[in-house]
C-alpha cells in the first residue's frame, strides 16, 4: 500500500558502447527515458529494478533527421512535446504529431519520449494497482500470479497495449532501429510487438530502441483516439490512418491501438480503393475492424464499447481522409 519509491542506482551512459557494457554488467537494470510510464510502475511495485539506466544522454538520441527521398529518422529520445510541433510532421505525416499531442497531459509530454511510448508496458485494471490491491486479489498472470482476472479460462495475459504513437506509425509503415549486443537491426514496427500482454515486446535481451524510420510518404494521414476526457486518458481505442495514391487507386492503411495486447494492423482492405469511398466500402472497413480487434475487460469501460469505438473511428477517419483527398485534387 505504500507508494514509496524503492532505492535504486542510476546510470547515465553517454554512448551506445558504454550502454552495452552497462547492460552486460548489470543485466537486471531497467531502461528509463522520460520515466512517465516506468516511475508509476516502480512506485506500485510492478517493477523490480535495483538499477536504472537513463537513456537521455545517448548521442543523436533526440534528433529528427530527414533521409534520402523524403524518408525520415526519428530518434527514440525525442520528447512527445517536440514531436507534437515538429515541422517535419506537419504535412502528410501529421497523424504522428496528432497522436503525440493526444498523449497524457502537457507535463507528461514534456518528459515522455518516443521510445518510451513505443516500449511502454501493457495496461490492465487488475495490474495497474497498488501491491496491497494486487495481493488482496491474488496477483495476476502478468506479474506474480497465475490467473488472468480478465479471462480466467485463458493461459495468456490480456493486458492492453495503449501507445497512441504506435497506431499512426504502423499505418505509415514505420520501421524501428534496434541496437543490441550483436549490433544494429531494423524491424517493421508492427513486428516489435507480440500478442501477449505479459511479454509484448520482441526486443532481444540487451536491445534498445534507438530510432524510428518512416518511409517516404506523400499521402494523407490522421490519428484519433476515443477516451472519456480530452486529456490525460489513455486511448480506449485509437486509430491511425494513412491514405496514399497507388497504381489503380488509393491505398488505405489502418492500425488500431488500445484494444489488444499489441497494436492491430487492419488487414483485408482492398489494395486499390476508388474514391469517394462507397457506403458499402465504409461498412466493410467497419466490419473488418470489429472482427480484427479483440478488446477484453481490462479497462473500466466495457470491451464492447471499445470495439464499437475502434470501428467507428476507423470508418470516420477513412471517410475524412477520402474527402480530403478529393478536395485536394
Amino acid at each position: 500500500m505504500t507508494e514509496a519509491l524503492a532505492d535504486f542506482t542510476l546510470h547515465r551512459p553517454e554512448s551506445l558502447e558504454s550502454l552495452a557494457i552497462l547492460r552486460r554488467a548489470v543485466p537486471e537494470a531497467r531502461l528509463i527515458a522520460g520515466g512517465t510510464d516506468l516511475l508509476p510502475n516502480l512506485r506500485r511495485g510492478l517493477v523490480d529494478a535495483p538499477a536504472l539506466i537513463d537513456l537521455t544522454a545517448l548521442p543523436d538520441f533526440a534528433e529528427i533527421e530527414p533521409l534520402a527521398q523524403g524518408a525520415l529518422r526519428l530518434g527514440a529520445g525525442l520528447r512527445l512535446a517536440d514531436l507534437a510541433r515538429a515541422p517535419e510532421l506537419a504535412g502528410p505525416r501529421q497523424a504522428v504529431a496528432e497522436a503525440a499531442r493526444g498523449v497524457a497531459g502537457p507535463a507528461h509530454r514534456n518528459a515522455a519520449t518516443l521510445g518510451g511510448n513505443l516500449c511502454q508496458d501493457t495496461r490492465c485494471l487488475y495490474y495497474n494497482q497498488s501491491d496491497w490491491w494486487r495481493a488482496a486479489n491474488g496477483y495476476c498472470l502478468k506479474y506474480r500470479g497465475d490467473t488472468c482476472h480478465v479471462a480466467p479460462q485463458g493461459k495468456r495475459c490480456r493486458a492492453a497495449f495503449a501507445s497512441d504513437l504506435a497506431a499512426p506509425l504502423i499505418a505509415l509503415g514505420a520501421e524501428v532501429a534496434l541496437a543490441g549486443p550483436v549490433g544494429e537491426r531494423r524491424l517493421p514496427l508492427a513486428d516489435l510487438y507480440r500478442d501477449d500482454g505479459a511479454d509484448h515486446l520482441a526486443l532481444a535481451p540487451g536491445e534498445v530502441l534507438i530510432a524510428v524510420h518512416l518511409p517516404p510518404f506523400a499521402g494523407l494521414s490522421a490519428y484519433e483516439k476515443a477516451r472519456q476526457r480530452r486529456a490525460i486518458d489513455f486511448p480506449i481505442a485509437g486509430v491511425g490512418a494513412a491514405l496514399a495514391r497507388v497504381t489503380g487507386g488509393w491505398r488505405l492503411s489502418l492500425a488500431v491501438t488500445g484494444t489488444d495486447s499489441r497494436p492491430v494492423a487492419i488487414a483485408g482492405i482492398d489494395d486499390a480503393l476508388d474514391l469517394p469511398l462507397s457506403d458499402d466500402m465504409l461498412a466493410r472497413i467497419d466490419k473488418a475492424v470489429q472482427k480484427q480487434v479483440t478488446p477484453m475487460r481490462s479497462t473500466m469501460i466495457s470491451s464492447h464499447y471499445r470495439r464499437l469505438a475502434a470501428s467507428a473511428l476507423a470508418r470516420r477517419l477513412a471517410q475524412r481522409l477520402a474527402e480530403q483527398a478529393r478536395d485536394a485534387r
Binding site: M1, Q129, W133, H149, R229, R230, A231, F234, Y305
Partner: protein, 776 residues
C-alpha cells in the same frame, strides 16, 4: 460575471481576492503533509477481505523489526466513533470483524517509509471470510448475513414521510409518469490526499494534532473520546487544506490512528495517505436508486410526488441517516408541491462507507425529479421554463415538512438564464446532435440543528483589538479553500467601517480560536457571518463610546466610515482610527469582544421524526441551462456552454461566489459525464485519478454566471449559501440537453460514452423491432 451593480463604499458586495490566496498561489502555504518534517512515518495495514471475522493479528515480528517504533491494532481502541451519537459503529481499526476491503486493521510507525512497509508485511493477519454484499439488493436479501447485528435486513435506516395527500394528488393529475433512475457512487476527489501529523508531548501528556479536517471541533471531540483523554490536553490545528467537499466532514479513522501512534511512540508521527487510501476512506455520494412518480396537470402544475430512494451506504453508519433524511426533506422547498410521499432506505454493504458530499442528499433525487419533469413537459408539449414557473413558491412560507423559506429568488434565476441562453430563439434550432436543457435546484444555508446537539451557539467569533490598531478575528470556521476567512474579514471590516486589510483572520487552532462546528452544510457564511457581524457590532459600541467621550457627543451619533470617526451631521469633529483605538485602550487595555449566532427555533424543522434534517435559515436557489453536443458514433457528450443563475441572497464577495458557482457546475458536470467508483468484489477499480475521472480543464465549458440577490431577512447582509445550490441542477440539465439533442432519455448517471452508445443501440433496435411489427 453578471453581479449586481453597486456603489463601492463597502467591501461587502465588491470582488475581493481571498485573503489567503497569496500564500496558495506562491506555494508558501503549508499543508498538513508539508509539516511532516522528521516525524516517524506511519502506515496502515488494511483488510484484504471484504467481510470476515478476524481470527488472529500477530504483530510480534513487526514490533521486533529494527526501526519500528510502534504497532497498534483494533485492540488499542475500544471506542467507536461516528457522526450521530445514536449511530457510532465504526472503530479506528477493525475489532473482531472487518466489513470492507481496505478497512484498517493495524498500523505502524517507523523511522522511514521502507521500514514501515516491511513492518506491515510482517504482521500476520488471519481472517475467516463471511459472505460479502456489494449491492443494496444483495445486502437486503432475506437470508443475508447482517453486517451489524442490530440492523435487520442490513437497513441502517428506513424513512417514511407523507405530507398532504399524494394519492389524491396523483388522481387529480392529467399526466402521471413513473421512472427509476440509477446514479453511480462518486467521490469528492479533492486535490489534497488525507494526512495527519500528530505529536505527543511527553511529560505534559498532551497531543498536538494537525489534520486536513473540515470539522476540527468534531475531530477534537472524537480524539479525546477514542484516546480517553481530557480534551483540554489536545490542541487541534487545521493548517491550509486542499479541498474538502464533504470528504472530511466527519472524523476519519486515520486521524484516530495517528493519535494512537503518536501516543505510543511518545513523539511525532506523520500519516500521509496515498490517493488510493484517500479514495478508500471515501465518504462520497452513495450509489442511489430513485423511483419517482410525478403527477402533472395539462398546464404544468405539479400535483403530487412519490419517491422511493435506496442508497447503498457502505459498511458503516457515517452520515447515512442524515443523507437518507436529506434526500426526502429536500423534495420540499424548491417548488410549491403540497403532496409528497417519501420512502427512503439506507442500506449497509461491504464497501467503503459513504458520507456527505457537496449537495449532500439532494443531488441524485433532484436529478430524477428534474429529469422526469422535463420528460413530462415534453409529453404535454410545454416549455420546461413554463412548467417551472407554474410551480413557484411565494416567500415567506413554511413548507409542508416545516422548512422555513424567507427569500426566494428562483423566478429571477429562471428569467436570467432563459434570456442569457437565448432559449426562446435557439432551442430546437441548433442542428443535429446539439441541444439545450435546463433544470433548477436549491440547497440549505446551514443545518439549523447540528448533528451533535449541545445547545451551545452554532458559531462564535471573537475579536481582539490591541495597541497596533489591527483587528484580529478569531474564528473556528475552517478555511478549506471556500473563502470563509475572507468572508469573516469583510463582515468585520464593513461593520466597523474599516479596511479589509486591517482585519487579520486567525482560524483553525483550538489553542486560540473559539469552537466552531465546521465547514459543512453550507453553514459558515450564514452562521459565522452573523456571528462576525455581531462581534464587530460589540467592538463598534466600545469604540463609539471612546470616540463619543473625546468628541463630547452621544455614542449613538458616532459613525465610522473609511476608518474615520465622526459625529453624524457634523463635518468638523473627526477622529482617526488610531486616535480612537488609543482612547479606547487607555482605560482597560486591549479589547476582546465576541459575537455568536444561534438558529431561531422556528428554523429548526418540522416536529416529525427526522424533521431537523433539511431545516435551515434559508435556501439558495439556482436555475441553469446547458448546451451540449452528442457524438452518436462514439456516444460522447460535449458540454458546449452553461448559463447558471444562483440566488445567494447577497454576494458578500462576488468573486468567491462566482468561483463557488462555477465549481458547483463543474462538479455536477463530473458526476453527470464521467465520475463513478467501481469495485471488483469490493476492491476499488477506480483507485487513482487516472481511473477515477474528474473532468480536466480541456473538458470544461465556458460557464456564464449570474448572481441573483433576494436579500434574506436573516442572512448576514442578506446573504445565503453559494457553494452547493447550483450543483444538483447540472446533471438533469445535461440529461435534458441530450434528450433535446438526439431524443434519447437516459435513466442512469453518469452519461458516460459506453452508456450513451448502448442506449442508442438499444433504441435503434427497438425502433427496428417496432417497424418490423408494423410491416408484418
Amino acid at each position: 460575471m453578471n453581479a449586481p451593480a453597486r456603489t463601492a463604499t463597502r467591501a461587502a458586495g465588491t470582488r475581493t481576492p481571498l485573503v489567503d490566496g497569496i500564500e496558495k498561489v506562491t506555494g508558501r502555504a503549508r499543508f498538513t503533509a508539508d509539516l511532516a518534517g522528521d516525524a516517524a512515518v506511519a502506515r496502515i495495514l488494511r483488510s484484504p477481505v471484504a467481510h470476515g471475522v478476524i481470527r488472529r493479528i500477530d504483530t510480534t515480528a513487526a514490533e521486533a523489526l529494527p526501526g519500528v517504533l510502534a504497532v497498534v491494532t483494533g485492540a488499542d481502541c475500544a471506542h467507536p466513533f461516528g457522526v450521530l451519537p445514536i449511530a457510532m459503529n465504526e472503530y479506528p481499526m477493525a475489532r473482531d470483524r472487518v466489513r470492507y476491503r481496505g478497512e484498517p486493521v493495524a498500523a505502524v510507525a517507523a523511522v522511514d517509509a521502507a521500514t514501515a512497509a516491511r513492518a506491515l508485511k510482517a504482521i500476520e493477519l488471519q481472517i475467516d471470510p463471511l459472505p460479502a454484499y456489494f449491492t443494496a439488493t444483495e445486502a437486503r436479501a432475506p437470508d443475508a448475513v447482517l453486517l451489524h447485528d442490530d440492523k435487520p435486513g442490513n437497513v441502517e435506516r428506513e424513512v417514511h414521510h407523507v405530507f398532504g395527500d399524494p394519492d389524491a394528488g396523483l388522481a387529480e393529475a392529467d399526466l402521471v409518469r413513473t421512472a427509476t433512475f440509477t446514479c453511480a457512487e462518486i467521490n469528492h476527489a479533492q486535490m489534497e490526499p488525507h494526512a495527519a501529523v500528530a505529536e505527543w508531548v511527553p511529560g505534559r501528556e498532551e497531543l498536538i494534532f494537525h489534520s486536513v479536517t473540515q470539522v476540527p471541533f468534531y475531530t477534537h471531540k472524537h480524539l479525546a473520546r477514542c484516546l480517553e483523554m481530557d480534551p483540554a490536553k489536545i490542541r487541534l490545528v487545521k493548517p491550509f487544506v486542499g479541498g474538502g467537499f464533504g470528504s472530511r466532514t466527519e472524523t476519519l479513522n486515520f486521524e484516530i490512528i495517528a493519535g494512537l501512534l503518536a501516543r505510543r511512540t511518545g513523539g511525532r508521527v506523520a500519516l500521509v495517505l496515498s490517493r488510493e487510501e484517500t479514495l478508500i476512506s471515501h465518504r462520497g455520494r452513495p450509489e442511489t436508486e430513485v423511483t419517482l412518480a410525478l403527477g402533472m396537470r395539462a398546464d404544468g402544475r405539479l400535483t403530487a410526488c412519490k419517491a422511493e430512494v435506496v442508497m447503498r451506504g457502505g459498511a458503516y453508519a457515517g452520515y447515512g441517516i442524515v443523507t437518507i433524511l436529506y434526500a426526502g426533506a429536500l423534495l420540499h422547498g424548491l417548488y410549491d408541491l403540497p403532496n409528497i410521499r417519501y420512502d427512503g432506505y439506507r442500506v449497509y454493504a461491504n464497501l467503503p462507507p459513504c458520507g456527505a458530499m457537496r449537495g449532500h442528499g439532494t443531488v441524485d433525487v433532484r436529478h430524477a425529479f428534474e429529469t422526469l419533469v422535463d420528460r413530462m413537459a415534453h409529453e404535454l408539449d410545454l416549455d420546461p421554463f413554463t412548467v417551472r414557473r407554474a410551480n413557484l413558491l411565494e416567500a415567506p412560507l413554511f413548507t409542508p415538512n416545516g422548512l422555513m423559506v424567507n427569500s426566494y429568488g428562483l423566478p429571477d434565476c429562471l428569467d436570467r438564464v432563459e434570456a442569457a441562453s437565448g432559449w426562446k430563439e435557439r432551442r430546437g434550432k441548433l442542428g443535429p446532435g446539439r441541444g439545450l436543457g435546463m433544470a433548477c435546484s436549491h440547497y440549505v444555508s446551514g443545518a439549523a440543528k447540528p448533528v451533535h446537539w449541545t445547545g451551545e451557539p452554532h458559531a462564535v467569533v471573537a475579536l481582539r483589538l490591541d495597541f497596533d490598531g489591527a483587528v484580529t478575528a478569531l474564528t473556528g470556521a475552517p478555511e478549506i479553500g471556500q473563502g470563509s476567512s475572507t468572508m469573516v474579514a469583510i463582515s468585520v471590516a464593513d461593520t466597523l467601517g474599516i479596511d479589509v486589510g486591517r482585519v487579520r483572520v486567525v482560524c483553525g487552532d483550538s489553542a486560540t480560536v473559539p469552537k466552531d462546528n465546521g465547514a459543512y452544510s453550507s453553514r459558515i457564511t450564514f452562521m459565522v457571518g452573523n456571528a462576525a457581524i455581531g462581534a464587530a457590532r460589540n467592538l463598534r459600541t466600545e469604540l463609539a463610546q471612546a470616540a463619543a467621550a473625546k468628541l463630547e457627543a452621544d455614542p449613538a451619533d458616532i459613525d465610522c466610515a473609511g476608518e474615520v470617526f465622526s459625529v453624524r451631521g457634523s463635518a468638523q469633529s473627526q477622529l482617526t482610527w488610531a486616535e480612537v483605538v488609543a482612547a479606547a485602550l487607555a482605560v482597560d487595555g486591549p479589547i476582546t469582544v465576541k459575537g455568536s449566532f444561534t438558529t431561531p427555533e422556528k428554523a429548526q424543522g418540522g416536529g416529525h421524526r427526522g424533521g431537523a434534517v433539511g431545516s435551515t435559515m434559508g435556501f439558495s436557489y439556482a436555475a441553469q441551462v446547458v448546451e451540449a453536443t452528442v457524438d452518436v458514433d462514439l456516444g460522447r457528450i460535449t458540454v458546449d456552454r452553461v448559463w447558471v443563475a444562483l440566488d445567494c441572497g447577497f454576494a458578500i464577495n462576488p468573486l468567491a461566489v462566482e468561483g463557488q458557482i462555477e465549481g458547483s457546475v463543474w462538479m455536477g458536470m463530473g458526476q453527470a459525464l464521467m465520475e463513478e467508483t467501481r469495485y471488483a468484489e469490493g476492491l476499488p477499480l477506480h483507485a487513482s485519478l487516472l481511473e477515477y475521472r474528474v473532468p480536466t480543464i480541456a473538458d470544461s465549458p465556458p460557464i456564464e454566471v449570474h448572481i441573483v440577490e433576494s436579500v434574506d431577512p436573516l442572512g448576514p447582509f442578506g446573504a445565503k449559501e453559494a457553494g452547493e445550490g447550483a450543483l444538483s441542477g447540472f446533471p438533469p440539465a445535461l440529461a435534458a440537453a441530450v434528450a433535446d439533442a438526439i431524443g434519447l432519455d437516459m435513466d442512469a448517471l453518469p452519461l458516460s460514452p459506453d452508456r450513451v452508445l448502448e442506449a442508442l443501440v438499444a433504441k435503434r433496435r427497438a425502433a427496428q423491432r417496432a417497424k418490423r411489427r408494423e410491416d408484418a
